[in-house]
Symmetry: none
Subunit: 201 residues, 4 copies
Amino acid sequence: MKRKNDRKLQIIEAAIKIFAHKGFYHAKVADVAKEAGVADGTIYLHFKNKDDILISLFEIKMEEILSRFHAAINKKTNPIKKLKLFIELYFKLIEEDQNLAEVFQVELRQSSKFLKDYHNQKFIDFLNIIGQIIKEGQQQGEFRSDFHINTMKIAIFGALDELARQWILSNDPKFNLRDVAVEMTRTIVAGLLPINTGDVL
Amino acid sequence: MKRKNDRKLQIIEAAIKIFAHKGFYHAKVADVAKEAGVADGTIYLHFKNKDDILISLFEIKMEEILSRFHAAINKKTNPIKKLKLFIELYFKLIEEDQNLAEVFQVELRQSSKFLKDYHNQKFIDFLNIIGQIIKEGQQQGEFRSDFHINTMKIAIFGALDELARQWILSNDPKFNLRDVAVEMTRTIVAGLLPINTGDVL
Amino acid sequence: MKRKNDRKLQIIEAAIKIFAHKGFYHAKVADVAKEAGVADGTIYLHFKNKDDILISLFEIKMEEILSRFHAAINKKTNPIKKLKLFIELYFKLIEEDQNLAEVFQVELRQSSKFLKDYHNQKFIDFLNIIGQIIKEGQQQGEFRSDFHINTMKIAIFGALDELARQWILSNDPKFNLRDVAVEMTRTIVAGLLPINTGDVL
Amino acid sequence: MKRKNDRKLQIIEAAIKIFAHKGFYHAKVADVAKEAGVADGTIYLHFKNKDDILISLFEIKMEEILSRFHAAINKKTNPIKKLKLFIELYFKLIEEDQNLAEVFQVELRQSSKFLKDYHNQKFIDFLNIIGQIIKEGQQQGEFRSDFHINTMKIAIFGALDELARQWILSNDPKFNLRDVAVEMTRTIVAGLLPINTGDVL
DNA sequence: AATGAATGAGATTTCATTCAT
DNA sequence: CATGAATGAAATCTCATTCAT
């Protein structure tokens, strides 16, 4: 049993690399097999079809990520600290495994719409980490309450995600995600604090 | 015998519809031809190949969008008003032509990495509309200066874009982009105002 | 009527050039039209289809060639002189219009087998010029009689033709067809003279 | 599961038959596949593309032919005997495998100009068998020396080749290649013997 | 379980030919 | 007569998936 899972992970790691470099549609199953060092047919002992590789990859990796995020964030109690940490963790994640990041950013975004029967619950869970933090912030009076949590969690994720994407696409060495994390934390928190902006708008 | 440009636009409109519904990779050139009411071969009188349909589509539509945004935003002088307007225009754009929005959001994001020799200058121009607004805001002392314009323009675009994407993907009638515009304007402006957050972080 | 024929010849000249450079199958009717300076559709006012361009081209040009050869050769009476002249005329023909030569050599050879309903009578007539010369030579006792005219006319044509082909393909400036004509005349005549070779074979 | 080479040869044999009957350009890859009893896609496991079938076919068959000719001819020492043998072998080759002959005669002649990057070294080697025989003949004083070997090898090949082609195209049962071989040997040898023809020319 | 040769459906693209102007 | 935009049949080639070994 352990062995079987090893082989599956081995294929997934190969798939991440290949999908990141060629894109899901341009990647051939044979490419993944070669990168994984197995025969083409072996892929089909572990995955239903090509789509299933992408879905499984996402499920498995996302589970790891969710655990990691939950574990780290639950150690803090202050919502602002939690938000700061989330941002740091997110950019660290991107930096650590660019290939995985690229697959998530580009391929899954596009694919979830076309992969049959795939409801992307893990992504929703991920967004909800932010949602939960904001909620606590509102409950504790640290954040304004004149916005919807569902809107804001998407907006925050979108901001971080787009920064991550542009960081991946650009190869500018001056584009440093740690600095970006500091900037973004400051700005996002500023945007959420209970400060009246009514007079300028 | 239609004017050459008419025929090209007719195919582009069909392509937007088809690509939005099926996705670029799942869409057949024959689908586009049928939707446009022309023969398959006619496509190739106007476009080099399938990729070229997507690129041309983007170039032409993006030009329109850039003009429209520039024209509207240049009528205002106050950076905060400009930012507010940008957000409104962006969501209006998404609402007006969901198919186009979907193609831009999903297909082009994925494709721009693989379409050969396609440097997406128009997208950079679009981002720079936000960049320019922020810059003016900083110069006029309306916004903080402790962040990079290039970071912030990406973040703002990412936030709006992700909201738009989720709006398109969800069909929740309660998810109203006009309300979102109001919320986001308030929050983004709050995030940029020259207010010290140092004490909470 | 004269005008109509002019237009047809104009297309034929263009076709010779295009077919010589690209080969019949790789040449597009549109290429021929462009080279001729007419619209694609105009071609079909003068020719039934693409095959018909090649056939007509051959018929018209071959008629000219046959007349020219007959006229020149009939001025001589001696079969050896006639043969010498034929060889000279043939290489001169090749040198004069390489494009036409190339079309005849490569395209027609291949095409006559696949062009529907085309029995290549003109080519037979051309071979028979040689046949007639040999026949006269035999009758006048200048040539041996222990070979078949039909065999020999093909062999002689083949020798000259292959030399022409290689001359066209090579661009060796030292490969001079006039010298070749001299050599070949000497050798062919030697091969036909009534000299017994029985002892060496 | 056949040996890889078996499968390739099987496809080549099918291709020879199909190309001979329909011509390279009119033959569909699907025709070859069907004749070979394999799926269309299988062709592409062994050949890069349709052109590659023709080139591979030529290379493989030509190698066989060159070996066979070299082996047989090297058993003789006398140049005249060698030439006689060459002629016999050539016509035998044509008779033995008419389909292959047809492909070589018609298709390759036409194609070699267009198949990209294909320098037909094997054909040059084949011509040089004749060249070598003539050279030996000259060195041993059996043949005249007042002609160029490079000219004569082409002429001899051309004569034989055109006879072969006409034999294939005609279906005349009286057209017998063995008789032709005898005639041609006599004539070619006569043409090369050191006999002065200066007085008749 | 693993292999990898074989499959064959399916998509892009070409281009000879037509016909309304 | 001439045009050239439009047609659409047809062919090459790809690649996810299967299955005998």
